[in-house]
């Protein structure tokens, strides 16, 4: 298993994405961050915390589970750990920044958009990815990218992220299993 980025690089990437979001949205009246379960939840939470600090006001945060909209039923067994969609702020007319840990095929994002629009009609949706590993199957691009990793189809990008910056945080590439 090859380490690609250590905790210092990961922490800096999260902060840089937060700074970029703040630059673009300092004047946006109604915006929130939504982490895509399960991998994007901690990234989204860290972003919301950082951006709130930079803006000096609390940025609303929610979680979104896109599982029921996925097109790959039968491709993956369903994990027993389940994190549900929980968005407690009004998304109608809002700018929503979806956060995910790894952007790969774009399928998760497609499902996430459907789930999001079942809840309301945001005015604008952006995507923040901690890691972009390339290899898209759908026309999807991230508005904010923390780190870029070159990985082939036989490899898996593993992100370890904690609630608060931690020496355990890392990005690895390992053979897909």
């Amino acid at each position: 298993m090859a380490l690609v980025f250590d905790s210092g690089a990961v922490a800096e990437a999260v902060r840089e994405v937060a700074r970029e979001i703040t630059r673009r949205h300092a004047a946006t009246p109604h915006f929130g961050i939504v982490g895509i379960a399960n991998g994007g939840v901690l990234f989204g939470r860290r972003l919301a915390w950082e951006v709130s600090g930079l803006l000096g006001r609390e940025v609303p945060f929610g979680t979104l589970n896109a599982q029921f909209h996925r097109d790959d039923i039968a491709h993956k067994p369903i994990p027993k750990a389940f994190m549900r969609t929980d968005i407690r702020f009004d998304i109608d007319g809002a700018t929503i920044i979806l956060a995910d840990d790894v952007l790969f095929s774009g399928r998760t994002l497609r499902a996430a958009l459907n789930e999001l629009f079942d809840h309301g009609r945001p005015q604008r949706v952006e995507l923040a990815a901690l890691v972009d590993r390339g290899g898209r199957s759908l026309p999807v691009t991230a508005d904010y990218v923390g780190l870029r990793v070159a990985a082939n189809a036989a490899q898996q990008v593993v992100v370890r992220l904690s609630e608060d910056p931690s020496p355990q945080d890392s990005v690895h590439v390992e053979p897909a299993g």
């Binding site: 029921f68 369903i78 027993k80 750990a81």
Partner: protein, 336 residues
């Protein structure tokens, strides 16, 4: 119509796997705490979708669910139909008296034909205990037990415990009394498994002919005195007297049952304040339950019915997915 035995699908032995891997749900006896937790988390998530602008989810789009009901049912059949439709599946309901069973076709042949007609799941209600397990063994498609004789009714117990979790958060250490016709009740059996797995203490109560002491072998308390059964219960699940399953008389008359065990306003005062009243339906007003009690503030009977939709959505979703994963793993199906 049949495929080689090597390709036969069946539930893999239950492991401590972190994934749901059951293609069928035939009972709760061997279902783990983690599995019930998953069903309930999904159900909670589905419940939230009932209040959305868009109530339908696309998860089972293109799948066909056949409800094969060889015994009468209103709630369960309708709840399974709505559950499947909310997940965008197509649903066909067949009842015993309108099927070829009346022409002498066996359950096995009926089921194999339904599978050959390209159905993706069967929801089965049948008078014979073990009917769902039998079909699960011979069919590649998922089989969900919607009640088999006096054996199990797993989705009923899942929705009952889901309702209690919504009220209490956790069932750990809670006391639940199941009152009535335990002997003939598949609802009681499934609830005993589910409640115990979730950490509740179960008391069975009713006349000794309908609540034999042998049930204590299942790790529950058996009492025949109503006051004792009620005084420390956090919830009471009432069961209907099942005339249709009783071959000999287990008590002198319904009137006598009501006099000894019917839950009325006076007897409600034996309960702790705030104890919940549950009933899987259909209720027989004036027999096991008085209208005052059934329609009272402590009754969660109609919430149980609503929760029946979302718990069944979770079961359909999980078993459909597990079956598809199994088929793919065995090379039976190309990607769709």
């Amino acid at each position: 119509m049949s495929s080689p035995p090597a390709k036969r699908l069946s539930n893999p032995p239950m492991s401590e796997s972190e994934y749901w891997n059951r293609k069928d749900l035939t009972g709760l006896e061997d279902v783990t705490r983690a599995e019930i937790d998953l069903i309930h988390s999904l159900a909670a998530s589905f419940k939230e979708t009932l209040g959305r602008r868009q109530k339908k989810l696309p998860s089972l789009r293109g799948k066909t669910v056949v409800n094969l009901f060889m015994e009468p049912s209103t709630r369960t059949r309708v709840a399974f139909e709505i559950a499947a439709k909310r997940l965008s599946a197509d649903v066909i309901s067949i009842s015993g008296d309108s099927s070829s069973v009346v022409k002498g076709e066996t359950l096995k042949d009926t089921a194999l034909n339904i599978q050959a007609l390209n159905a993706d799941m069967i929801v089965l209600r049948h008078k014979a205990a073990g009917a769902a397990q039998y079909l699960a063994k011979i069919l590649d498609i998922p089989v969900i037990n919607a009640g088999d004789g006096a054996h199990e009714h797993p989705t009923q117990a899942l929705l009952d415990t889901f309702t209690l979790r919504e009220k209490w958060g956790s069932l750990e250490g809670r006391k639940v009394t199941i009152l009535g016709d335990i002997l003939f009740s598949r609802v009681a059996r499934s609830n005993i498994w589910a409640l115990r797995t979730l950490g509740a203490h179960v008391t069975l109560a009713g006349p000794n002919t309908l609540v034999p002491k042998q049930f204590e072998e299942l790790g529950v308390k058996v009492v025949h005195d109503l006051r004792e059964a009620l005084h420390d219960a956090d919830a009471v699940m009432l069961l209907r007297i099942q005339h249709e399953r009783q071959t000999s008389s287990h008590f002198p008359s319904l009137k006598e049952y009501t006099a000894s065990f019917g839950l009325n306003k006076l007897r409600m005062s034996w309960l702790k304040p705030g104890a919940l009243i549950m009933h899987p339906g259909p209720i027989n007003r004036g027999v096991e339950i008085d209208s005052d009690v059934a329609d009272g503030a402590q009754s969660v009977i109609l919430e149980q019915v609503t929760n029946g939709i979302v718990c069944r959505m979770a079961v359909l979703y999980l078993c459909a997915n597990a079956a598809a994963v199994l088929r793919k793993a065995r090379g039976l199906e190309v990607d769709q």
